[in-house]
Symmetry: C2
Subunit: 225 residues, 2 copies
Amino acid sequence: MKPAVVLLSGGLDSATTLAIARAEGYDCHCLSVDYGQRHVAELAAAERVADSQGARDRRVIHLDMNQFGGSALTDVSIAVPTGGVQPGIPVTYVPARNAIMLSLALAWAEVLGARDIFVGVNAVDYSGYPDCRPEFIRAFEAMANLATKAAVEGHRLAIHAPLIDLSKADIIRKGRDLGVDYGLTVSCYQADAEGQACGACDSCRLRREGFASAGVADPTRYRPR
Amino acid sequence: MKPAVVLLSGGLDSATTLAIARAEGYDCHCLSVDYGQRHVAELAAAERVADSQGARDRRVIHLDMNQFGGSALTDVSIAVPTGGVQPGIPVTYVPARNAIMLSLALAWAEVLGARDIFVGVNAVDYSGYPDCRPEFIRAFEAMANLATKAAVEGHRLAIHAPLIDLSKADIIRKGRDLGVDYGLTVSCYQADAEGQACGACDSCRLRREGFASAGVADPTRYRPR
């Protein structure tokens, strides 16, 4: 089996991405990042997801991105919006997060000798984050192929974003077919310590609408209002 | 004054880069990364350099890259070579280090509203690291311009690598002309806690040859053999 690094946040999208990578025959090394996120419960979810899907290995990298702030996810003084998904880039956007996480995945891939990195970004039912667009992924891949020893030695690194043009409902149906237990995942931007979801943030709304649209029972544990 | 983020390791090259950014009129926010490097004394040097050159601000981001290992700088079980600079990529190469550090700088730049990032990479008198080449810097800049909110809003981000085609002697002469105190800097890959240099690693060799070639007195503190 070929090794791959899979970025695993513990949410619905990354859990599906891991299942896809496994189904494609990769030996999956999962990377989670403890970046000072408000919804730190997602890290426990990532561990459950990695275990349930037979990942080879899992690492949590610690990175104090809340030194920079500038996002509702890394600065507790900025509230998470709960009034519905709005046009434009919301305050839950974390500056350069995917560039940083993919760079960390690139580092581990190089040490492992892996030429494949999987990331669960999605540009359909998403929050308008610039670093979830296909043109960003292509540019990152081009950069990665100039950044590393493997590239100099003539290997090609691939950034796989298998969800990029799927709707949330498509993602959920695909995950269901692959046996993903979405009850283990946490998507909420302000999940509590037990991983219970608020039901009102953009991430909860997109997730709930996805289950409804897919006709799949929503296993999310919402906390009492 | 326009804000800029300057990656400041505490070595000779980044100290010179900071001086160039200051001379070009930037208000400099210096970023150092505590990534588990063997030569952690460079972080104290970075603080001295930032203070001596009137940086606006300085942050140290902590990142446990030695979880990945794979480099003599992040894995103490791999020795730093001291036999002279060899062809090829040496074991002191840290996988994806510059992609990671530039991504962190990108995050801070976005929060600050800065459109300029300075990095002291050099592709002449260097150790053959793939992420010090001009094609890597150009690819990173292209990626950065797709990764961030600023880019979506039509701003351009620039990655400045003012040393990229200079010899070590050129760098030293330029820094001397700008008043850089190289006695504050630490380049050695195995500097001791006081910042004293080994004199034998690739970084020490390139630095010492640079001072000799530039005809500038070498202020480096070498430790007794």
